[in-house]
Structures are given as C-alpha cells and as structure tokens.
C-alpha cells in the first residue's frame, strides 16, 4: 500500500517535471503555431487588407484561386523548378560524391571547394548570379561567345529565365554531395569484394550495390529537396522580381506579393493553405512511390 503510494507520488512528480521541461515548447506551440494556424485558416475565408476590419467571404478566396491565371502560372513555374532543380542537384551531387569516394589525395580540399557555394547567403549568391547572367558584360554570355554561339537572354527570355535560376540552384549541389559521400562510406567494402569475385565490373557494382544501398539517403534528400524547392522565393525576388512575363513568378513569391504588396491577407492565406495541401500531397505520393525503388534494411 505504502509502496504503491510512493510509486504514485514519484510518477506524479515525474509528470509535473515533464510538463515543466516541455512548457517553453508547449507555450511556443500554442502562441507561434496553433494559434497562427487557426488564424490563417480563418483568414483564408475572409477578405482582409489590414486597414478595414476583416470580412467573412466563405469560399470566395478559394474560388478566385481557380480562376486566377497568376496562381496557375506560379504553380506551373514552381513545379517546373522543382522537377528540374531537385533531380539535377541530386544527380550532380551524387556524381561528385562517387568521384570523391576513393582513397584520393586532397579529398578534404575538394570537399571544401564543392561545399563552399552552398553556404553562401542566398541574397549574396542571387546578386552575384544576376551579374554572372548579365546580358552584355556577364561572364556566362562571354563564355558562350567564345564558341561563337549566340547567348540566350539568360534572365530576359521568359523560357530561359527559369532555366537560369535552375542552373544557379545547381551551384549548391555540394551540400548533397557531402551527405552522399558519407552514405557511400557506410557501404561495407566486403560487398564490393564479393562482387569483384563474382566478376562484376565498375558499372555492375554501381547498379547492383552502390545505387540500391544509397537509395534511402537519396529518398530523404529528394523529400527535403522537394519541400525546400517548392518554397523557392529569394532568388526570384532579388534577381528577376518574378519576370519576365511572370516566367519566374514562383508560388511563394506570388504569395508574398499578395500579402505584403497588395495587402490581400485573406487571399494570401488561402494560397498558403493550398501550398500546404500540395506539399503534403507530394510528400505522400513520394512515400507511396518509395516502396518501388527505395531499398531498406540491406545494410
């Protein structure tokens, strides 16, 4: 009897301490997450420009989205960016990691050289690349001219502008490289030795051992990369401002414009919720598809 009473007291004390320790986060959860989430959902059904009191409009914002060309345009631009930027970054990062994955001299130097661009603050890299893409004096145009080829309007041509921003995003492929390199180092050497005895060549070893064993890492980077790229903002805000012809108007830039340039807080909130749903949907599809190509529990 006394024993169980003591146990009860200890458990209660542990519970109180638990809540105390969790309380900063719990308060933060309520103030900075739950309350804003509910408010955001509420605003998405309202018309609110800050100056006048918010007005309930039901589903009007969501209906407007469907007929809003710029919404579809920004969604298309963002999907285009994600579809090219994410896989290309992964392939490039993996390719460099494979080249570095031997007992090679100066690996630390290479690793640093490839990694440095991905730590450059995005505002700085955007300004730098705007200059690299300069139509007359930029280094890229002059490089293309070296081969007597006409340089495209990197940022002025609606078709090229998106591709240019994708090219710029590949400059940060080094951050993935470091992760793949660590993943490759985790693969036991004995696997390769066994494959060599079976007569596998370099390509056979890559497709039968390396690639399957690194798929969990690739998958994780794919998910993170897609979620991150879907929220691409700063590059287009600084370099192109969404132009030319809205060809680099990305989803979050359009959301930002609605909220902080046009002060359409309700409409921007609806955009945010649609973004949330899209990201959840894409992640869910990715998880479903993962079963087909991701190898688990092989190591």
């Amino acid at each position: 009897m006394a024993q169980s009473h003591k146990k009860y007291r200890l458990a209660r004390r542990e519970a109180i301490v638990g809540y105390c320790f969790a309380s900063p986060w719990l308060i933060g959860l309520i103030v900075f997450v739950l309350f804003p989430v509910i408010a955001s959902l509420k605003y998405s059904f309202m018309d609110y420009d800050i100056l006048q009191p918010a007005r309930w409009v039901g589903f009007a914002n969501y209906k407007e989205l469907f007929h809003d060309n710029l919404f579809w345009r920004s969604l298309y631009n963002t999907l285009y960016f994600v579809v090219f930027s994410v896989p290309l970054s992964i392939i490039l990062g993996l390719a460099i990691a494979l080249l570095l994955n031997t007992e090679i001299n100066g690996i630390a130097i290479y690793r640093t050289l490839y990694y440095i661009p991905s730590i450059v603050p995005v505002v700085a890299s955007s300004i730098l690349w705007a200059w690299i893409f300069d139509p007359n004096f930029g280094i890229l145009t002059n490089f293309v001219h070296l081969f007597n080829l006409p340089a495209p309007g990197w940022l002025s041509d609606p078709f090229w502008a998106k591709n240019s921003l994708i090219l710029m995003s590949l400059w940060g492929a080094g951050s993935g490289m470091i992760i793949y390199l660590a993943g490759l180092k985790n693969i036991p050497k004995s696997y390769y030795e066994a494959a060599e005895i079976d007569g596998s060549g370099t390509i056979g070893k890559f497709f039968n051992i390396t690639l399957p064993l690194i798929t969990p890492t690739l998958f994780f980077q794919l998910i993170i990369g897609m979620i991150g790229s879907f929220q691409v903002f700063t590059q287009s805000y600084i370099i192109t401002g969404g132009g030319p012809n809205d060809s680099t108007l990305f989803y979050v830039l359009y959301l930002y414009n609605n909220a902080f340039r046009f002060w359409k807080m309700g409409y921007a909130s609806a955009l945010a919720w649609v973004l949330f749903v899209i990201i959840m949907l894409l992640t869910w599809i990715n998880l479903k598809l993962a079963k087909r190509w991701v190898t688990y529990d092989q190591m």
């Binding site: 458990a11 542990e14 109180i16 638990g18 809540y19 320790f21 969790a22 900063p24 986060w25 719990l26 933060g28 959860l29 103030v31 900075f32 997450v33 309350f35 804003p36 800050i50 460099i96 080249l99 570095l100 031997t102 090679i104 290479y110 690793r111 050289l113 490839y114 440095i116 661009p117 730590i119 603050p121 505002v123 700085a124 300004i127 730098l128 200059w131 690299i132 007359n136 004096f137 280094i139 002059n142 070296l146 951050s175 470091i178 992760i179 660590a182 993943g183 890492t217 994780f220 979620i227 929220q231 700063t234 600084i238 930002y256 909220a259 807080m265 921007a268 909130s269 955009l271 973004l275």
Partner: protein, 296 residues
C-alpha cells in the same frame, strides 16, 4: 557512444588501396579539378569584379584578373554601405536566436526522451506534424500578431520565437540523441539522490554536446542567412541585417547604373564572415550536415 564497433580491419585491404594511388587516379583528379573550378569560379569572379573600376568592368571580353587591381571599391564602400552596423545587427539577432535554441530545445527534448507525462506521445505526434507545416501558413498571422504587439521594426520577431523550443526539427534531433543514452546512468544518479534538474544539467547536457554543436551551427546559418524575416519586419536602415542591407544596397545601385564593382565588393564582404565561420567550425559543420542529412 554506446555502441562498440569491433571490426577487424584487414591489412591486405589497406595495402591494396594505397597501391591504387597515383597513376590510376589521374583522370579522376582532372575531372574533379575541372568541376571544382566551375564551383569556385563564381566566387573568384565576384572577387575579380570587386577589384575593378567601372571602366574595367565593361571591358569585353572580360578580364579574369583585373589589370590593375583596384581597391577603390572597398575603400569607398563604407560611406554607402554601413557594413558594421548591419554586421552588428546580424550578430545580435543570431546570438539571441542561437542562445534561445540552445537553452530551450534540449529541455523539451529531455522531456520527450526521458520523462513520462500524460499526453507526451500525443504531443510528440504534434511535434512531428509541425515539422511538415510550411512556414508560409503561419507567416501572415504571425506578422499580424507581432504588429499588434508593436514588434514591427524591432529584432523581437526574429529571435523571440526561438526561445520557445527553438523549432520542432531541433527538438526531434536532440531527442533521438538522448534516446541512445543508457538508462542506468540516470538510475544510479537517482539512487544517489539527484533530482531531474541535476540529472539534466550534470549528466545529459554534457553527453549531448555533439548534437548541440550541430544544432547551434544550423541555427547560426539559418538566422544569418534569413531574408524573408528581416524583409517583412525591419523598416529602418539602422536595423537592417546584412542580407537585407545588401538587398537594399543592390536596389539603390541598380537604379544608378555603373556601380557593379562596388556592389560586388559589398557582396564579398557579406560572404566573408560566413566563410570564416565555416573554416573555424569545418569539421563539426560537415559532421552536422551528414548527421541531419543521412536519416530523419
């Protein structure tokens, strides 16, 4: 830490790999050098442009190495670009943010990893759920909340939220680390009469040092590079962080043509602190990227 690896290393394997050096790796080195040049070149181009006069900038084809080197941009810059003011603001925001995360994230992680309290598992699911929530969903209500509180044009919106758990991802990361610490450690401390706070500060905190370093580095980079936060909340130039200051400087420069060299100089000195930080913390930095990147 808790796992002991006993993998006998084959001596043969070592000999084999050292033999592979030199001749066979030459093509590999060539490809790596060419590629790494592509990665480093934009930064060299940045420095090169920053050392040119406006006239040199517009030479076609461009001079890769300026003839002569001109330091004028760096000397003139300070009158137009209050670098040290921006730097001071950035450091202030970053230090307050990192401190907030380091103080409050491990506390919450400890509660999730080592303590039993009603609702813990439910709240842990919520924690995981908030990791999926894009920040744009809460952006507008938070802006309205902070403007009601009179926090617009102050640093408060940029660091205060970090003092409330410091973000779901960091709590999750530290929790995973805490879970791997054997139970016996705190049980013997309990028998010795230590309370939860003592166990936390004397046993747990020293043990989770590596993951805290990772968290600090990530928060440092996140706060330092943050752009949309300062863009929305800060109005006065005296309050700008480096990222926002550089952006405004770029806007002003592009209106008055022909200041590319100076703009590149401003960009270069904005990048320098991050690169210094990277080299100071390089090993921890890369360990952290790998730790968070390999598995969730």
């Amino acid at each position: 830490m808790s796992q002991i690896k006993t993998q006998p290393r084959l001596i043969v394997e070592k000999i084999n790999t050292t033999n592979k050096l030199s001749v066979r790796s030459v093509p590999r080195h060539i490809i790596l050098i060419v590629f790494s040049f592509l990665f480093v070149f934009p930064l060299l181009w940045l420095v090169s442009t920053s050392l040119k006069t406006d006239l040199q900038v517009f030479i076609v084809p461009p001079e890769l190495i300026p003839k002569p080197f001109v330091w004028k941009n760096y000397l003139d810059l300070w009158t137009y670009f209050p670098y040290f003011q921006f730097l001071k603001n950035t450091v202030l925001v970053v230090v307050l943010s990192v401190a907030g995360v380091l103080v409050t994230a491990p506390i919450a992680a400890y509660a999730f990893a080592r303590l039993r309290w009603p609702g813990r598992d439910f709240f842990f699911l919520i924690l995981l759920g908030t990791m999926m929530l894009p920040s744009q969903v809460t952006l507008i209500p938070l802006y309205l909340l902070f403007s009601k509180m009179g926090w617009i044009n102050t640093f408060m919106p940029l660091w205060v939220p970090n003092w409330f758990g410091g973000g779901a991802f960091f709590i999750f990361l530290i929790r995973q680390f805490l879970m791997s610490i054997p139970k016996d450690l705190e049980e013997s401390a309990f028998i010795d009469g230590a309370g939860y706070t003592r166990i936390y500060t004397n046993i747990m905190l020293p043990l989770i040092h590596p993951v805290l370093t990772t968290v600090a580095i990530f928060q440092f980079m996140g706060s330092w590079n943050d752009f949309i936060g300062p863009l929305i909340y800060l109005n006065d130039q005296s309050k700008f962080t480096l990222s926002l200051g550089l952006r405004i400087f770029q806007q002003q420069s592009s209106q008055s043509q022909g200041e590319i060299g100076m703009m590149m100089a401003a960009t270069a000195i904005t990048v320098v602190p991050v690169i210094i930080f990277f080299f100071l913390a390089q090993r921890k930095f890369i360990e952290g990227v790998v730790l968070t990147g390999l598995k969730a």
